[in-house]
């Protein structure tokens, strides 16, 4: 350990193309972000069609080389300074995943450096390590447009899924309710804003599903739609603010109740929140209140690390690299890759 100062830094290049974003990043020693370029944040994206979903592999192909170049330039490095290349290999859209994987393989092969396959959700969890070191055991609540998962980790790269959504993801429920309230897309931030101005006066169901850690938000979505529909039939006015507040409270109630139950049952040191819905003020405030009087350390990364990015992939890649959990050059994209099988069987 005394040699730390003389030890050469380990630079991992991360590549993420599983869904809407093309992103490339360089992370030093698993904790310092040297660059983190995300397609939607740069001008080239506008030239290629604005803020529409970048789901098509064609769009990833158009962007990847440029974004790779930007990531290296901003990190003031060349490919010769990279020690390993980490890439998301699932879950996601197969065509989109393959673009990132092909780029990662090409770099790994030509530079003779390890290729490291990363699970997208593991990346989201490791985004927290870029803010504050992970402390085990921990519980991670992963909440986004596409994911709702409660994950338990005892050590690095070991994941146990305690629960997941049986129907809609949280972020999706926000978007769909926002649409029913005629709010713009994406709806999450609008509901959050209106909720601050309203009162949770409308009774909405909370699907607690007994002792299970699974979630269900479809019934809540339907309840909101039905309440709006019934009010319209009776020509009554429902305050958008109150509906937003009531909906948000119901969602946060369920998320917080299950998360805190897992925190207590597993006796964890740290609770981390990941994914785009981590930006929701209602959720943040509630979890802060719930953990305040406990010894549990609550960590929520800044928004740019909550949404899809390659720094989180590079970060998880670093820990896989350190334990030599490398992938072979025949690594394939897996659309429905499970978190547990991606790591625990390695």
């Amino acid at each position: 350990m005394n040699l730390d100062n003389q030890k050469k830094a380990v630079n991992i290049l991360g590549i993420e193309t599983s869904c809407d974003e093309t992103s490339v990043s360089v992370v030093k020693d698993g904790s310092t972000i040297l660059s983190n370029i995300i397609s939607s944040q740069i001008d080239i994206h506008k030239r290629f069609g604005g803020v529409v979903p970048e789901v098509a592999s064609r769009k990833h192909v158009e962007g990847i080389n440029f974004i790779l170049q930007q990531a290296l330039e901003e990190a003031k490095l060349t490919l010769d300074d990279i020690d390993g290349v980490a890439v998301t290999y699932g879950p996601g859209l197969i065509g989109a995943l393959l673009v990132g994987i092909a780029a990662a393989k090409a770099i790994s092969f030509t530079k003779g450096i390890p290729l490291i396959g990363v699970h997208h959700i593991a990346g989201h969890i490791y985004a927290n390590h870029l803010v504050k070191p992970l402390q085990f055991p921990l519980i991670a609540l992963v909440v986004s447009g596409g994911h709702t998962e409660l994950v338990y980790m005892e050590q690095h790269n070991h994941f146990e899924i305690l629960g997941q959504t049986r129907d809609d993801a949280v972020g999706e429920a926000f978007d769909k309710v926002a649409r029913a309230l005629n709010l713009p897309y994406p709806g999450g931030p609008h509901i959050d804003r209106l909720a601050q101005q309203g009162n949770a006066t409308i009774h909405l169901p909370r699907a607690l599903l007994d002792q299970s850690y699974d979630f269900s938000f479809s019934g809540l979505k339907s309840a909101v739609i039905n309440a709006l529909h019934n009010a319209k039939q009776k020509e009554e006015e429902i305050s958008k603010e109150d509906m937003a507040a009531s909906f948000q409270e119901a969602v946060v109630d369920v998320l917080a109740t299950k998360t805190m139950r897992a925190v207590k049952e597993k006796g964890v040191k740290q609770l981390i929140v990941a994914g785009g819905v981590a930006a929701n003020k209602g959720l943040r405030n509630r979890l802060m209140q719930e953990t305040e009087a406990t010894s549990v350390d609550l960590t929520i990364p800044p928004l740019e690390l909550c949404t899809d990015n390659a720094a989180m992939i590079a970060c998880n890649g670093y820990f896989l690299h350190q334990s030599k959990q490398w992938s072979k050059l025949d690594l394939n994209g897996i659309a429905s890759l499970s978190l547990e099988s991606a790591y625990n069987d390695k």
Binding site: C19, V52, P53, V55, A56, S57, P91, G92, L93, I94, G95, S144, G145, G146, Q164, T165, R166, D167, D168, A169, G171, E172, D175, K176, R179, A180, D214, S218, K221, S222, I225, N226, A335, S336
Partner: protein, 158 residues
Amino acid sequence: MTTSYEIKTMDVNETQRLAAKLAKYLKARDVITLEGDLGAGKTSFTQGLALGLGITQIVNSPTFTLIKEYQGNLPLYHMDVYRLEGEDEDLGFEEYFYGEGISVVEWAQFIEDYLPDQLLNIIILKLDENRRLLRFEPKGDYYIELCKEFFENENISH
């Protein structure tokens, strides 16, 4: 004139049981499109179908991820192309439609150009909070025959 079949269900459980029964009549490369408003029960219907295909995994909404794949007696490709409205974007749909499994597409009108000529369109109409009217609209001889057989064998009056 196109043939269509209608059936009413009392609640989501009955809708899912019907979908599970329908699954037994399907084979690889069959394509089902689902129409219905938000909350009509398109994903619920697909969950029933998945059960009928022997899929034990949780089948949840593909709205954000667009396509989810499951392995049962046959693979199930569950797609929701809502986010592709106005995009005219091909995500390699042919590989699914003409692949190894059954494709179920929600909001299929947004990818009309990529849909096969023959398919089974199912419209789910909300009668009230729980009850639904399901209208089966087969396109092409194969699906007309499939619907005929399904509704006759299962003794469903329509």
